[in-house]
C-alpha cells in the first residue's frame, strides 16, 4: 500500500480533514438558527468527555438509595437501570447496525427464563450466580445468532415482521410449554410453568455475599449497567463498531468495501441479545419470578421509544431517553403530579415553539380568557356541565375547577371530546400563521378538558397514547431524537 504523505493524514488548520466530509460535519451548525433549546444542551454535553459523563451518572445513581427511605423509589431506580440496559442493547442492533429487530423482547424474556430455570426449585437446579449469569448471556447470544440468520436474506420490513412474529411466538411458547413430552421420556415435562411462570428464584450473589435487599439489587444493577456502558463504548469505537455504522448507512457500499456484512449483522444480533439476556437475568432476580406477560409487545414499543427519543446511535441519548420514559409513567400514576406534568409540558412546548414572546403571552392569556368565558356561559345554560369536581382539591385544582368544564359523569362527552381533539390537533398542523395561533386557543382548552375529564383517571392508557403519539411526532419533527445528529443524504 502506498504511503500517504504525512501532512495529509493529520489535522492541519485550513486543510480538509481525511475521512470527514466538512459539508456534512457542519450541517447541524448551518441549520442551528431554528434548532431550538436542544442545541445548547447537546453542546454542553459534548464538552464533557464520555468517561466524565459516565462517572457523573454513576455517582448520582450511587447516592440515590442513600437519599430516600422508600423501597418503592429504589425499585423505580432499579427499573430505570434495567430499561436503560435494554435500550443500550437495542441500540446496538437498531442504532449501530440499523437492523429493525422487533423480536428483541424475546431475548430479554429468554434470558430471564434461562436464569429462572437455572436458579430455582423448578428443576431443583441452583447454580451460583457466577455460573448462571454467563450461561444466560451465552445462551441469549446464541439465540440471537440463530434468529439473526434470517437477516442474511431479509432486509428492512421483512426482517421487522419476521422478528415481530418471533416475539409473538415466544410468548405463545412460554404459555404452552408446560406439558411437553420430550422424545426421550414418556412423561410430560413442565418447562416454563405455563401461564403461572416460575416463582421464588434465588437472588444474585457472589462468593457468599447475596443481594437480598432491593438496595443491594440496585447496586448490582448499577454495576452491570456500568460494565455494559463501558463495554459498549469500546465496541462502538472499535473496528466492528465502525463497520456496523457503515452497514447501517449503506449495506451495499459496505459490502463493496469488502466488509463481511452477514457476519456483522449476526454479530450485532448476538450482541444485542446478549445484553438483553443479561438484563433479563437481573430482572428475574429483582422480581424473584418470571411470567409470560412480562414480555409483551408494549414493553418492546417502550424500549423503542426510549432509543428513538434519546437519539438512535447515541449512548448518552439512549440513557436519557430511558430515564425520561421510565420516570414519566410513575409521575402519571398520581393525578396531582400528572396534572403538573401535563400543564408544564404544554407551557414548555409553547415556550420552545412560539417566538416572539408576545405571541406566547397572547396565546396563554387568550386560552385562560377563553376558558373563563366558556365556563361562565356553560355554567349559566347547562348546569350539568360544571357539576363535576376534582377529588381532593389543592390550590391548583381549585383554580382549574373554575376554568375547565367538569361535567358530572364525563365518560361519553370526554370520549367525544377526545376524538375531536385528535382531529383538531391534526387540523392544526395544516394551518399556518395567524390562523394557527387563533385555532391554538380552543385546541389548548379542549386538550385541558380531555385531560381533566378522561385521561387523568386512566394513567396506563394515557401512557400508551403518549408513547404512540411521541413516536409519530418525533419521527415527523426530529427523526434523529433529542441528542442524535441528523443524517445527511448525499445523492
Amino acid at each position: 500500500m502506498p504511503q500517504l504523505p504525512k501532512d495529509e493524514t493529520q489535522d492541519v488548520a485550513g486543510q480538509p480533514r481525511i475521512g470527514v466530509d466538512d459539508w456534512v460535519a457542519s450541517k447541524e451548525g448551518r441549520t442551528e438558527g431554528h434548532a431550538g433549546a436542544l442545541t445548547p444542551l447537546r453542546e454542553g454535553l459534548d464538552r464533557i468527555s464520555g468517561s466524565a459523563r459516565l462517572a457523573i451518572v454513576v455517582a448520582l445513581a450511587a447516592i440515590f438509595p442513600l437519599l430516600t427511605e422508600s423501597d418503592y423509589l429504589v425499585r423505580v431506580g432499579v427499573n430505570t437501570l434495567l430499561f436503560a440496559l435494554l435500550a443500550l442493547g437495542l441500540n446496538v442492533v437498531v442504532g449501530y447496525a440499523g437492523l429493525l429487530d422487533l423480536g428483541y423482547i424475546a431475548f430479554y424474556g429468554f434470558g430471564a427464563y434461562v436464569y429462572a430455570v437455572l436458579s430455582s426449585s423448578h428443576f431443583d437446579v441452583h447454580l451460583p450466580t457466577i455460573v448462571s449469569v454467563p450461561v444466560v448471556v451465552l445462551a441469549s447470544a446464541l439465540l440471537g445468532l440463530l434468529l439473526g440468520l434470517p437477516s442474511r436474506r431479509l432486509v428492512g420490513d421483512y426482517l421487522a415482521i419476521v422478528s415481530l412474529f418471533f416475539a409473538q411466538i415466544f410468548v405463545t411458547l412460554l404459555v404452552n410449554s408446560n406439558r411437553i413430552t420430550p422424545p426421550w421420556s414418556d412423561q410430560a415435562v413442565d418447562f416454563t410453568g405455563g401461564p403461572n411462570g416460575i416463582a421464588e428464584l434465588d437472588s444474585l450473589g457472589l462468593f457468599g455475599w447475596e443481594a437480598d435487599s432491593i438496595t443491594s439489587l440496585f447496586y448490582v444493577a448499577l454495576v452491570v449497567f456500568t460494565v455494559v456502558v463501558v463495554g459498549l463504548h469500546f465496541v462502538s469505537e472499535s473496528r466492528t463498531g465502525r463497520a456496523w455504522r457503515a452497514l447501517r448507512e449503506d449495506p451495499l457500499a459496505a459490502e463493496v468495501m469488502s466488509m463481511p456484512i452477514n457476519r456483522l449483522k449476526l454479530l450485532a444480533f448476538a450482541f444485542g441479545a446478549g445484553v438483553a439476556g443479561l438484563t433479563g437475568a437481573v430482572f428475574a432476580a429483582v422480581q424473584e419470578g418470571v411470567f409470560p406477560n412480562n414480555f409483551s409487545v408494549t414493553l418492546l414499543i417502550t424500549i423503542y421509544a426510549m432509543v428513538i427519543l434519546g437519539g438512535v446511535g447515541s449512548l448518552t441519548g439512549v440513557i436519557i431517553g430511558a430515564i425520561l420514559i421510565t420516570v414519566l409513567p410513575e409521575v402519571l400514576e398520581n393525578p396531582d403530579q400528572a396534572r403538573l406534568l401535563f400543564y408544564g409540558l404544554v407551557v414548555l412546548t409553547l415556550l420552545a415553539r412560539l417566538r416572539p414572546w408576545r405571541r406566547l403571552a397572547a396565546v396563554l392569556t387568550g386560552t385562560v380568557a377563553f376558558g373563563l368565558v366558556v365556563h361562565a356561559v356553560v355554567g349559566a345554560v347547562w348546569s350539568r356541565g360544571t357539576a363535576g369536581a376534582i377529588l381532593e382539591p389543592t390550590a391548583l385544582t381549585r383554580w382549574i375547577d373554575d376554568w375547565v368544564l367538569l361535567p358530572s359523569s364525563p365518560r361519553t362527552i370526554g370520549n367525544v371530546a377526545f376524538v375531536v381533539l385528535v382531529a383538531a390537533v391534526l387540523g392544526l398542523t395544516l394551518l399556518r400563521g395567524r390562523r394557527r395561533l387563533a385555532a391554538l386557543v380552543p385546541v389548548l382548552y379542549l386538550a385541558a378538558f380531555v385531560w381533566e375529564n378522561r385521561l387523568v383517571d386512566e394513567p396506563s392508557i394515557t401512557r400508551i397514547l403518549l408513547l404512540g403519539a411521541l413516536l409519530v411526532v418525533l419521527m415527523n419533527a426530529r427523526p434523529q431524537g433529542l441528542l442524535g445528529t441528523s443524517r445527511v443524504e448525499i445523492v
Binding site: P150, G156, I301, G468
Partner: protein
C-alpha cells in the same frame, strides 16, 4: 379419513382465509405504491369492526333491532368501509406523507406509533371488555347449505361471497380504470409516474382509502362470524394479514388473495389436525419457509436492482 371434519375445516379455512386475504390486500397495495409496511393496518381493521358494532348499537342493539337485517348488514359494511377508509387516509396524510423522503426506518417507527395510538384510543373509547355482535340473535344460523358433510351457515356464505365480490371489484378497478392504471404506474416507478403528470399524492391517498376500506369490511366480517371483538384483535390479525401478503408475494394483488387463503386453510387444518395452541407457530413456519425458499412469495416478481 373423516370427511365431515375435513369439509368443515375447509369451510372454516375459506372463511378465515377470505378475511386474511382482505387484510393482506391493504398491505400489498400500500406496499406496492409506497414500499412501506403499514403497521397500523391491523388497527384499522379493528376500528372497522368497532364501527360495525356502533351501527348495530345505533340500530337498537342485537336484541331489539329496529331495522331489517339486510339493511343492518349493508349499513354495517358501508359505514365500516367508509370509516376505515377515511381513517387510512388520515393516517397517510399525517403520519406517512411528511416522511416520504426520510430514511426508511422513520415511517416504520411512525407506523408503530400510529398502531399503538389507535389501540390505546380504542381502549379509552370502548373499554377493555369484549363486545359481541350477537349475530345469532338476528340471523338464523341454522340456515345455509347443509348437504351430507357440507355445513355452511348463511353468515359464512355471506362473508365468502362479499370477500369474493370485493376482490373481483378491486381487480377490475386496478386493471381497467384510470385510477387503477395510475396506481400501477405509481407502484412501478413513483418518480416516473409523477413526471408523466400523475398526481402521485392523490393516487397514494386513493390506495390507502381502498386498502383500509377492505380492512374495515374484514373487521365487520370477523364480528359477524366470530361475534366477539376487542381492542387487541388488530395486532395478531395484522401479523397474519402481512404474512399472507408476503406468502403470496408482496405487491401482487392476486398473490394477496392466494396468500390469505393459504394462511386461512393452513390455520384451520392445523387447528383441526394438530393443535390449536400452536397454529400461530405453524403460520410462522410457513412464513419463514416461503421467505427462505422463495423470497418474492408465490406470485411475486423478483425485484431487480441495478446500482
Amino acid at each position: 379419513m373423516n370427511w365431515d371434519l375435513f369439509v368443515q375445516l375447509l369451510v372454516n379455512g375459506l372463511t378465515v382465509g377470505s378475511v386474511y386475504a382482505l387484510i393482506a390486500l391493504g398491505y400489498t397495495m400500500v406496499y406496492g405504491v409506497l414500499k412501506l409496511l403499514n403497521f397500523a393496518h391491523g388497527e384499522v381493521y379493528m376500528i372497522g369492526a368497532f364501527i360495525g358494532f356502533g351501527v348495530l348499537s345505533l340500530s337498537g342493539g342485537a336484541f331489539e333491532l329496529s331495522i331489517s337485517v339486510v339493511l343492518l348488514i349493508a349499513l354495517m359494511f358501508a359505514a365500516a368501509m367508509v370509516g376505515a377508509g377515511l381513517l387510512g387516509v388520515v393516517i397517510e396524510r399525517f403520519a406517512y406523507r411528511p416522511l416520504r423522503n426520510a430514511p426508511r426506518i422513520a415511517p416504520l417507527i411512525s407506523a408503530l406509533g400510529v398502531s399503538f395510538f389507535l389501540q390505546a384510543s380504542a381502549l379509552l373509547l370502548f373499554g377493555a371488555q369484549f363486545r359481541s355482535y350477537d349475530t345469532y340473535e338476528y340471523v338464523d344460523l341454522t340456515r345455509g347449505i347443509h348437504k351430507g358433510p357440507l355445513n355452511i351457515s348463511i353468515v359464512q356464505i355471506l362473508v365468502i361471497l362479499t370477500a369474493l365480490t370485493l376482490m373481483v371489484g378491486l381487480t377490475v378497478l386496478v386493471s381497467r380504470s384510470r385510477v387503477g392504471k395510475a396506481m400501477r404506474a405509481t407502484a412501478y416507478d413513483r418518480e416516473a409516474a409523477s413526471m408523466m403528470g400523475i398526481d402521485v399524492d392523490r393516487v397514494i391517498l386513493v390506495t390507502f382509502f381502498i386498502g383500509s376500506a377492505l380492512a374495515g369490511a374484514a373487521g365487520v366480517m370477523v364480528g359477524l362470524v366470530f361475534f366477539s371483538i376487542n381492542h387487541t384483535m388488530g395486532f395478531v390479525a395484522g401479523l397474519k394479514g402481512f404474512t399472507a401478503a408476503v406468502v403470496g408475494g408482496i405487491g401482487s394483488i392476486p398473490g394477496a388473495m392466494l396468500g390469505g387463503l393459504t394462511i386461512g386453510l393452513a390455520e384451520a387444518f392445523s387447528a383441526g389436525y394438530i393443535s390449536s395452541t400452536f397454529q400461530d407457530l405453524i403460520v410462522f413456519s410457513i412464513l419463514v419457509l416461503v421467505i427462505l425458499v422463495r423470497p418474492t412469495g408465490l406470485l411475486g416478481k423478483a425485484d431487480i436492482r441495478k446500482v
